[in-house]
Symmetry: C2
Subunit: 470 residues, 2 copies
């Protein structure tokens, strides 16, 4: 609950038009893209600048009001679900590209910028921002930073963290800090920039970011390799890397995923293959041609049933767009779609896919698997129905088994989706008590009242993948 007094101060800080505590306004921001989670915020607030955010946080501290920063809410971990009420903070007024600096190869942006808009803007200048989460058409840069989003190009180019050079952020105290800058090298104190990336809004609220850009690759080429056996596909992945080739994209899709996507996009995907690798290389034309020739040969040697190279840019684009639509395609199947991101060292891809299929069978569930094979980041996805309580219990057990297997193989419980509410109960599997204690100490140090996105990352309760909120 927000008191009348606190409400008056918020309105004084940001203007009446930027504070909404209507039932309809609150309902819209009571959930995000993570299924099965919903909780009403007490109000929604839209600051116009960092100073507004500072004022808001000062009032939150004064009245002990939780605050949840939110971009487009496309995260899959419940990271922006206001599970403890309070304010949801929107960046609709802070959505400008402030500068594209062609000399220093940087973009300086506000958190509300749509990822793809920024990518297009820098590409028009011959530059390239590699992180490309599948949600990039609607996700915001601020959300990408909070979640340390990955994407299809992670293997060669890394993730959001690798492209954040500097931040402006507001701390729980209301202090505005600046980290890093237009600098490749900066060791002046602790690396708060990377500490904030992926911290899910629990340590501070990012109000501006300076991002690293790279020259746009001259060209790219795309191929599909079709396999009769999942293991053969996984072996090709290892063989490509062993040849010292790092493709820009190296995606894996199993047969059920292929079928679902084809039903959705209808572009003639080879739905009879048991597994497919979608491989893309970019760079200058000589390198791309040479690498793709080598990759084609490796896939054929590695028992690919066939290899299809995209003949035109449109065809290549259709293939990667089809892959990006996997979540939307799968979501059509059943009322509830649970898309996970257990991640393993890439040498363990085949073992992990095999384990997922065994676990699905054990628990009598339909689990499709696709994902970023090159970086070991798999997306086992269960289509189910939350109203079927008995099945949901099996789903929960199956995902616990999947996470346990990922850890056993040297992996992690989340590669790019974040912990949020959904993965919090499993965090200890990865970090042990000692690791969580260290992280909680940092959280406590920077946010002693626990107002910044409370209830995220650190679990209150026991292991449960599926939590239905108040």
């Amino acid at each position: 609950m927000i008191s009348r007094e606190a409400k008056e101060q918020f309105i004084l800080a940001v203007g009446e038009e930027n504070y909404d505590d209507s039932a309809a306004g609150r309902l819209v921001y009571s959930y995000d893209a993570a299924p099965q989670l919903q909780a009403m915020p007490d109000a929604v607030i839209a600051p116009r600048c960092a100073d507004d955010v500072s004022r808001i946080l000062t009032i939150c501290s004064r009245y002990d009001i939780p605050i949840v920063p939110r971009g487009s809410g496309t995260n899959l971990c419940g990271g922006t679900c206001p599970s403890e009420g309070g304010l949801v903070l929107l960046f609709k007024h802070m959505n400008r590209i402030l500068e594209i600096d062609e000399e220093n190869l940087t973009a300086t942006v506000q958190p509300g910028v749509i990822t793809q808009d920024m990518i297009h803007a820098v590409e028009r200048k011959g530059l390239f921002y590699p992180p490309d989460p599948s949600s990039m058409k609607i996700s915001t840069i601020g959300g990408n930073i909070n979640e340390n989003s990955g994407g299809l190009r992670g293997l060669k180019y890394g993730v959001t963290r690798d492209y954040v050079l500097g931040l402006e952020a507001v701390l729980a105290s209301g202090d505005i800090i600046r980290t890093g800058g237009k600098l490749t090298k900066d060791v002046a104190g602790y690396d708060l920039t990377r500490l904030f990336v992926g911290s899910e809004g629990t340590l501070g609220i990012v109000t501006e970011a300076t991002l690293k850009l790279v020259p746009k690759p001259e060209t790219k080429k795309t191929l599909l390799a079709l396999y009769e056996h999942i293991e053969a596909a996984a072996e090709s992945v290892s063989a490509i890397i062993a040849e010292k080739i790092i493709p820009a994209t190296l995606e894996f899709l199993d047969q059920p995923t292929l079928q679902v996507i084809e039903d959705y996009v209808k572009i003639g995907l080879p739905t009879d293959a048991k597994a497919v690798l979608l491989i893309e290389q970019d760079g200058d034309s000589d390198t791309v041609r040479r690498d793709m020739e080598k990759i084609e040969a490796i896939c054929k040697n590695g028992a690919a049933a066939s290899v299809q190279t995209a003949e035109t840019e449109e065809e290549a684009f259709a293939l990667t767009e089809a892959r990006r639509s996997a979540l939307s395609a799968l979501a059509r199947l059943k009322p509830t779609t649970i898309l996970e991101d257990a991640t393993v060292p890439r040498s363990q891809i085949a073992s992990m896919v095999r384990a997922i299929n065994e676990i699905a069978e054990t628990y009598g569930l339909s689990i499709c698997t696709f994902g970023h094979a090159g970086d070991g980041n798999l997306h086992p996805t269960c289509t189910t129905d939350i109203r079927n309580k008995e099945e949901m219990e099996r789903v929960e057990k199956a995902f616990a088994a999947i996470f346990e297997k990922a850890i056993e193989l040297g992996g992690t419980i989340t590669g790019e989706h974040g912990v949020g509410i959904v993965k919090a109960p499993y965090l200890e599997m990865k970090l042990k008590t000692e690791g969580i204690t260290a992280m909680k100490a940092i959280k406590q140090a920077l946010d002693p009242q626990n107002l910044l996105n409370p209830g995220k990352i650190f679990a209150n309760s026991s292991r449960k993948r599926v939590v239905v909120m108040k």
Copy 2:
């Protein structure tokens, strides 16, 4: 002072042969490569494993004994000078390469491994570890991690931070934690891996690291571009990047530095040029040839007096080795050499070099400037004599002015050397009070007794570049 009781416990923990409190043993570790700093530790200790480190830290906590982890002591910020006494911890028993994983492109190493030994070991397998601090022949990986070392290849490849995937570290509490893994993507909680990189041993003691490797570039080519004016060289740097070419190395040397290096290595450097760019590109042979042709054309258009391409690998190696010897060469000139690393956005290189020269003139000092032009990381170096008190006062004022200028140009007080003792008084220039407060809160949370490398990063006193210790 270490009590008899504490000493007995340390000896019980690591064995008598690994604990040394003799005057001679302590003297050796009373200073590092940063000039003008010396302080005696109370003892020197050499653990054999992470469990030993945990035991040592538990005893340190019990008896309130400071502890300074130390690699080869090549840092230039006084980061391993035991300024508050206590223990110096050596990694002479923890110096093995544990694994080179060719499938996952990782190396797992203990902190005491010599950087160049690891680089050679991975190169023998066709792999590449890019961070190459000039001290790499003697520096350790653990030291590189603590300082987030850079080097000549930072522009294209980044710095140590960009290659650390996971750590084992011992906290002040004695807890052993593991962060990250053989994973490109991992968002399970806060990014402790990068928080620890560059934290100068003040948050925990790194006992193992998993490093990212990349395929070894097929070939490389090296050229020298000679200039009559410093500005012309700086303009070539901007023009190369503007052409969307990112060379592996893009080094700047002014005339005085060239002269000093040539006197030292005698390989026929063009000592009559006012400035030189040393440029190296690596990759596959087509790309390297094409990039180097473009770079040569840009340098010639940009008023380079001449461009010399290294004809053989040996010649190229001699050029980069000459550059790496700059500190050794400069150190021969006068009793005291102060090598700094003010860093600016690369578009400001010309302004910064001009400012350094003006400041040197104002204070009547001899300051050579060289450094990593591609990433704006300059090394203004003053050769002086600590016994000349009057001159040292001018040196101090000159460096304060240089740091102020770097910050004014959007830069930082240290690009790759670290804060340690030497830069601590200037940290506030870059971070403001708010930034330092946030960092201190993290330090306090993880090391409440302030035992881990105390007196580093955060200053007790006012601005002073030059501090003579007890």
